[in-house]
């Protein structure tokens, strides 16, 4: 397969078909913990994207140097380095957001999406496909986080990026920005996707039966 075509395929699959949150249900801790507003979700996505692409870049270059027996510990040290960089950068650029996200930026180290991509992809592939894969997965993760964060902020606070949407008479659905709202919202989204998938499956089966 030629390089650009493959890279494009690796990039696109992370956005929807193999979306790390909605399909693989990985990285749940940050997904639910920081999505109580759209801004927090964006900051978290950006930090994760940086760490994912950075460590995929380094590990793909080093894939023939790292001995197999100690690969997991090496990956973790590479990831932890990038997370430390992201943590300090965010603290310098946006101290308010950093305070709100608290320890969760540091906890990107143990996000299973990142280690999973290194083990499953970057350690076996050339630089370009690895970068495409990491960027796709990072964007897919960001997409899911942003969707959850926006929905929860709109329902639970009546605002979007801090701008009030419905005027003073809106009664906010406070539970949505509290912890239970995270579980309930993601559960509801997965339920909707499940129903849509089921409908599509039935429709395609129907078509096959008619064709036959």
């Amino acid at each position: 397969m030629q390089e650009p075509g493959q890279a494009y395929a690796e990039f696109v699959k992370g956005l929807w078909k193999e979306n790390p949150v909605f399909v693989a249900v990985l990285g749940m801790c940050p997904t639910l913990a920081v999505t109580n507003s759209a801004v927090n979700a964006l900051a978290m996505s950006a930090a994760t994207f940086f760490v994912l692409v950075g460590s995929s870049f380094l590990i793909s270059l080093l894939r023939n140097v790292i001995p197999r027996q100690v690969r997991i510990s090496s990956y973790i040290i590479v990831i932890a380095t990038f997370v430390t960089v992201a943590d300090f950068t965010l603290e310098a650029l946006a101290p308010d957001v950093h305070r709100e996200l608290g320890a969760f930026i540091a906890l990107i180290v143990v996000n299973c999406i990142i280690l999973g991509r290194q083990e499953a992809f970057a350690s076996k592939n050339r630089l370009l496909p690895s970068l495409a894969d990491a960027a796709g997965m990072g964007l897919g993760f960001g997409l899911a986080l942003f969707a959850l964060g926006s929905l929860r902020e709109i329902l639970g606070n009546g605002s979007f990026f801090g701008i009030s949407l419905f005027g003073p008479h809106f009664e906010p659905w406070v539970i949505m920005i509290l912890p239970p709202g995270g579980f309930l919202m993601l559960g509801a989204l997965l339920l909707v996707f499940g129903v849509v998938k089921q409908k599509r499956l039935e429709a395609s089966r129907e078509r096959e039966r008619k064709a036959a």
């Binding site: 249900v25 430390t84 143990v110 993601l186 559960g187």
Partner: protein, 196 residues
């Protein structure tokens, strides 16, 4: 507030009010992955308490001796030291008490790279807990995880036996159950409002 009262407050706060799983969303992988049966969930919870206490001690040692000189090494040193200490203790237990190892051993590697463990070390550092406070905090947080895991396992066993629409089975249903459980735990928030 007295010294013991303070420790008791840390314990209860970590256990029910700010439950690691249900209000901080930490340790969700085992929460959804291993909560299929009640007895497995119980043993995983016990192993969790054990690892958390070791973690807390490691973090205290690192905080006192190393990190004041090199704060940028915090994350890396936490991960490396905690992982290797747990592995070491695992080997010691295997030699000294094979029965205990059989009960808890298989879970130890799974737990070590869990976000709840790293978060415990980070929270303890951020809040400036000393050695004793740290251990109490670890026991409380571990007991909270145990509680959440066992409750979740019990509910899931019930859910498996009842008639649920096919599309809702699996992750979506588990998330909704967890949401309701988390809602119930919010009731504990008023427990200490007077004394805090």
């Amino acid at each position: 507030m007295s010294e013991t009262g303070q420790l008791f407050w840390i314990l209860m706060s970590a256990m029910v009010i700010n439950n690691f799983t249900l209000s901080y969303f930490l340790g969700l992988c085992p929460f959804f992955g291993v909560s299929g049966r009640v007895d497995t969930a119980f043993r995983l919870g016990l192993a969790n308490i054990f690892v958390m206490v070791i973690t807390s001690l490691c973090a205290s040692v690192l905080n006192i001796f190393i990190l004041p000189h090199a704060p940028y090494l915090r994350l890396i040193s936490f991960i490396v030291v905690i992982a290797s200490t747990v592995q070491f203790v695992e080997m010691v237990i295997r030699k000294l008490s094979p029965a205990l190892f059989r009960a808890l051993g298989i879970f130890l590697p799974l737990i070590t790279t869990n976000c709840a463990i790293l978060a415990l070390a980070l929270f303890q550092t951020n809040r400036g807990y000393g050695v004793v406070e740290g251990v109490v905090f670890a026991v409380g947080a571990g007991a909270g995880l145990l509680l959440a895991l066992v409750l979740m396992a019990g509910l899931r066993v019930e859910a498996d036996l009842s008639d649920i629409p096919k599309t809702a089975k699996g992750t979506a249903m588990n998330l909704l159950i967890a949401g309701i459980l988390s809602l119930a735990f919010m009731g504990f928030a008023g427990l200490f409002s007077g004394s805090a």
